[in-house]
């Protein structure tokens, strides 16, 4: 096939030039993928817990605008929610903050975490990918999310020491690490899960150690449905039946987190602009590269090469360049993701990677075709710089 022959010959005989072209495409790919992954990683910090909650509905206290820590629910409401038709299970979720200051008695730099109290086996409690999920509603056990594990390198069975402020004093609590769960950041900080009764004792509060006699309070309730009724109908039924609550789905719950929409639109805009700029750069790059071949294309046309052959040669070369450049950029990105510290939130979105690759694959050939069309419209004489 002549176009492939010409495209490969040019690349083989201009190794240095084409290596530079591969490098440019690879760096551009790396830039787009990195900023995209970073933006998605930041977004995930706000949505991860709700995304992986495994519940169809979330119940908040009424009139708190779905703000997690402003919501307060008591035990009595759980049983009322459970009785609503369509509800399969309901689990309490309490959210506060703490800091891990030691692992197996050895001090750490101190890592702020979301301290989440859940009822073992109920909605809201995470499954463990290593070790065991929480299974004792009172034990001083914890399940750590992947971010905590990666940042502190904590082994299963280790004892972590939490520091919290209760009343006017700092209190320290030891917990045995029973399992590891997938990442579940809440408001951008990693999480540890403890049984709700343990959480009630160790969360920041006025009375050190909690008040055993008081009604157990938590922030929200995670609701799993039995799929006999649509979620909207069950949500409406809960709001009718249970006083002073508002029900929403997990996505709405994190989208209403303070600042989430502002941050999300900033990230999306940044990703969009980045992609647009990169597409224009890649397009211009291949357009200029094609325009530099005016004389060569004119000569080929003059000796009888068809326009189709000239265009196919250009397209093959651009596609090879993009494939090699994207492969190098993707491989470097993958390697970087392996060595970057766990504090850098990188998440690869299949959709965005696909959009990026398709955009670059479309931009290069499209721009080259515009240039080629311009060149092919010029008489071969002018392209060759001849005059009579």
């Amino acid at each position: 096939m002549l176009p492939l022959y010409l495209a490969l010959k040019e690349m083989a005989r201009n190794k240095r030039r084409f290596s530079a072209v591969f490098l440019i495409v690879a760096l551009i790919t790396l830039l787009v993928l990195f900023t995209s992954a970073l933006g998605d990683g930041l977004s995930l910090g706000a949505s991860e817990y709700f995304d992986r909650m495994g519940s169809e509905l979330v119940v908040f206290q009424k009139d708190v605008d779905y703000q997690l820590q402003a919501s307060r629910l008591g035990r009595s409401r759980l049983s009322q929610i459970r009785r609503v038709p369509g509800v399969a299970a309901v689990g309490p979720v309490g959210v506060s903050t703490a800091a891990i200051i030691a692992v197996n008695g050895a001090a750490t730099d101190g890592l702020d975490v979301a301290l989440i109290g859940v009822e073992p086996g109920e909605p809201g409690a995470p499954a463990a990918y290593a070790g065991e999920a929480l299974n004792d509603s009172r034990a001083a056990h914890a399940v750590l999310d992947r971010h905590v594990v990666e940042r502190l390198g904590i082994p299963l069975g280790a004892t972590i020491t939490l520091k919290v402020v209760q009343g006017m004093e700092e209190q320290l609590y030891d917990l045995r690490v029973q399992g590891f769960a997938e990442g579940r950041k809440v408001n951008y900080i990693p999480s540890i899960f403890v049984p709700l009764r343990r959480w009630e004792r160790i969360r920041p509060q006025e009375t050190p150690g909690g008040n055993e006699g008081a009604d157990l309070l938590f922030n929200i309730a995670a609701v799993k449905l039995d799929q006999t009724a649509p979620p909207d109908a069950v949500a409406a039924a809960i709001e009718r039946t249970v006083s002073q609550v508002e029900v929403t789905d997990p996505v709405t719950a994190y989208r209403t987190t303070q600042g989430y929409n502002d941050m999300q639109s900033t990230i999306s805009m940044q990703q969009g602009f980045m992609l647009l700029i990169v597409v224009l750069i890649v397009g211009s790059f291949f357009q200029i590269q094609t325009l530099q071949k005016v004389a060569q294309i004119g000569m080929l046309e003059a000796i009888g090469a068809s326009s189709r052959m000239v265009i196919t040669t250009l397209l093959i070369q651009i596609m090879i360049t993009l494939v090699v450049g994207l492969a190098i950029g993707g491989a470097v990105m993958w390697a970087m993701a392996q060595v970057l510290p766990a504090t850098v939130p990188i998440v690869f979105s299949g959709t965005k990677i696909t959009i990026t690759i398709l955009s670059l694959f479309a931009a290069g050939p499209a721009a080259a075709m515009v240039a080629a069309r311009t060149i092919l419209k010029i008489e071969p004489l002018r392209a060759l710089g001849l005059s009579g």
Binding site: L2, A302, I303, G304, S307, L381, L384, S387
Partner: protein, 228 residues
Amino acid sequence: MSTLETQSVSKIYHMQGSEIRAVDAVSLQIQPGEFVALAGPSGSGKTTMLALLAGLLHPDDGEVLINGRSLRTMRKAELAAFRLTHIGFTFQSNNLVPYLTVRENVELMLRLNGALDQQGRARAVELLTRLDLGKRLDNLPSQLSGGQQQRVAIARALVHEPSIVLADEPTASLDTSRAHQVVSTLANLIHEQGRAGVMVSHDLRMCAYADRVLHMEDGRLVEEAVTA
């Protein structure tokens, strides 16, 4: 029947409201094995005439016939295919594909024609050897002198055995001795192989190698001379 014939062919350019007759009612006939030089001052219309003969430009009036076929009715793709099989072309500059070796540049015409076989390869090497480039087969154009590049272009123009060979100022960038060598080789090959050859040149010394010299001025054929 003439290999190449024009019948009162004209090409008119419109520039800033005025009409420039780059080629004005030129009629000529070239027979197989005949080498004709188109001479004249710069701007006389020589290259435009050559472009019309090659079908790179459409005439505004008149006909160009190659082997009895009119180029007027052919579409762009058809013209390209026709050029590929019937015409060999050399230019003043930018003659060669820079990333192909000498041998590959000549074989390119055969590849374009879908006729690269053992015989074609042998013909390419034979032509290049004849043009004193036998030791340069695997060199890139950038490793050749201007004269050597012109000779590679001549080999490429002849390798697919076209009926017509067109050369636009083939000696423009060469010193005198190289220019003589290139044009005499071109003339010899055209005569030997029975092609119809047209060379555009403003250098009258080079025209001595042609069988006929056609002088152009202001787009018109003003004089025809038969060389000795």
